[in-house]
């Protein structure tokens, strides 16, 4: 049986990159007696199933700022966490397929540039210079941000977990949360299948299961899980280092450091749910699109396909920080498929807000749950 402690200063629910990075940042700020519980194993959920892309090319200023600050953190994380993370700034090439889409990209780029992001609208032939194998037949233009990039999601997640452990965080795997106790609008403890922990503070970092954890605390959170599918090919000689994305044709793909092509899409009409089975339809559709954009991939073989959950929020932006009427409850949820790339900055903001009740940050308050009280004004549009 698990030797779960009876009490904790704070319990983090979720052993993905969000939970482990918050654990690390809090321990770094001197918090003692932090317990992290994970229902399965480290990186078994969305973190370990994602494409590993890192981009700051977003359509909302909050996402751009969070991502830009995260990229800055990524640059120094390998030395701070003392391990190789396969972080690489290979750039993101986002393809446009109509004049209308180009106009939307133009306004995105304008906003992104005003936040000092190095990004440009480029022509199809310039895109071909960046990726010579790219078929530019159906492309009207693209945006290019050379500081965007990628990282190995597993290594990042395990590195944060290791660094957190080294600073005293106790991590319990195979420990499922089955209840959350609160009294007089204050968190008092959590119940797991391995025993109870009394605590006055918890962080919901449960990814695809964040809504379920919210329900245990009596909260009706505006997040839903959606399955997203992805595949990997055999290793071939590396011929491009950047992520290629198309919103119109609904895909993203890159060639990872070890040589395989990894690419995914959002299945049209996917219903909310936690099913993460893989399907043949996805495999066929991705193959059509991949071989269209990079014809030389035709003979390359698919070796694996899998799926994972997006924790989708109403405006495709994360929901961060504390909430009204339940003291001691914190959340970092609703990343809508982009938790990995936003994790480093999110963890810093979350740790600051938990460690210091007077901490103020513009993005943190804009991304609070209370933004939905008056309806949704506008959301992130640049999503696959």
């Amino acid at each position: 049986m698990s030797n779960l402690p009876k009490t904790a200063e704070l319990v983090i629910i979720g052993g993905g990159v969000i939970g482990t990075s918050i654990a690390y940042e809090l321990a770094k700020r001197g918090m003692k007696d932090i317990v992290l519980v994970e229902g399965d194993t480290i990186s078994s959920g969305s973190t370990g199933r994602c494409g590993g892309g890192i981009r700051a090319q977003w359509s909302t200023p909050e996402n751009v700022r969070l991502a830009m600050a995260s990229v800055e953190r990524f640059k120094s994380l390998e030395s701070e966490l003392e391990t190789e993370l396969e972080f690489e700034q290979g750039g993101y090439l986002i393809l446009a397929h109509s004049d209308q889409e180009l106009q939307q990209f133009e306004s995105n780029v304008k906003m992104q540039k005003s936040l000092n992001l190095d990004v440009d609208l480029i022509t199809p032939s310039q895109a071909k210079e960046i990726v010579p194998s790219l078929n530019i037949e159906k492309i009207t233009g693209a945006t290019w941000c050379p500081s965007d990039g990628s990282i190995n999601p597993f290594l990042l997640n395990f590195a944060y977990a290791r660094a957190a452990r080294q600073k005293g965080v106790k991590i319990f795997q195979h420990t499922k949360v089955i209840g959350i106790e609160h009294k007089a609008q204050k968190i008092t403890g959590i119940n797991t299948d391995q025993g109870k922990i009394s605590t006055n503070q918890l962080v919901n970092a449960a990814g695809g299961y964040a809504g379920f954890i919210g329900k245990l605390a009596g909260l009706d959170l505006p997040v839903v899980p959606h399955r997203h599918e992805i595949l990997a090919t055999e290793q071939i000689n590396r011929f491009f280092k950047n992520m290629i994305m198309s919103f119109e044709y609904n895909l993203y793909f890159r060639q990872v450091m070890d040589g395989g092509i990894v690419g995914g899409q959002t299945n049209p009409g996917e219903l909310p749910g936690t099913d993460i089975k893989s399907g043949l339809t996805f495999l066929k559709e991705m193959s059509v699109k991949l071989t269209h954009f990079i014809p030389k991939l035709k003979q390359v073989k698919v070796i694996r396909q899998w799926a994972g959950l997006y924790c989708t929020s109403p405006d495709a932006q994360p929901i961060l920080g504390k909430i009204e009427n339940l003291a001691g409850y914190y959340q970092a949820i609703g990343f809508s498929g982009h938790g990995l790339m936003l994790a480093p900055r999110t963890a810093v903001l979350m740790a600051n807000c938990i460690a210091d009740p007077d901490f103020q940050d513009e993005d943190l308050s804009r991304l609070n749950l209370d933004r939905f009280k008056h309806g949704i004004v506008s959301g992130e549009r640049s999503v696959v």
Binding site: T41, I42, S43, S44, G48, T83, F154, L155, F158, A161, R162, R165, I171, Q173, H226, A232, T233, E234, Q235, F247, E248, Y249, N250, D258, Q265, T266, N267, P268, S278, L283, K284, E285, S287, V288, K289, L290, T291, H292, L297, K298, Q299, V300, K301, V302, I303, R304, Q305, W306, Y310, T312, P314, D315, A316, S336, G379, E380, R381, V383, V384
Partner: protein, 105 residues
């Protein structure tokens, strides 16, 4: 010599790399070893190495070999060329006309 012994032949992972990863990251399952070292992520998806990895885990952690610790085998069972799958679907226009993803569009 542990650094001479290849455990995962598809991804060239040695016994020493697996032992080091287990110690460095407190790993306790075949799936975790797969995520950190890539052992079992290649062509054969660990048909050979996952049993060996479990044996190494058992030895390093002084616990019995566990039959339910084997990693997930993912489709496709055999590697399939992209154009074979693409031809089964035929038309690019048909595929993209199924519409954009993005839940909020």
């Amino acid at each position: 010599m542990k650094d001479d012994i290849i455990i995962c032949r598809c991804q060239d992972v040695t016994e020493q790399e697996i032992v080091d990863a287990i110690k460095k990251y407190n790993l306790s399952t075949v799936d975790e070893v797969k995520r950190v070292t890539r052992a079992g992520m290649g062509h054969c998806q660990g048909k050979t190495c996952r049993k060996l990895v479990e044996q190494i885990l058992s030895r390093e952690l002084s616990r019995p070999v566990s039959a339910d610790q084997y990693t997930t085998l993912r489709p496709p069972t055999r590697a399939v060329p992209l154009d074979l799958l693409a031809n089964a679907e035929q038309s690019f226009d048909k595929v993209v006309s199924r519409g954009r993803g993005g839940h909020n569009e």
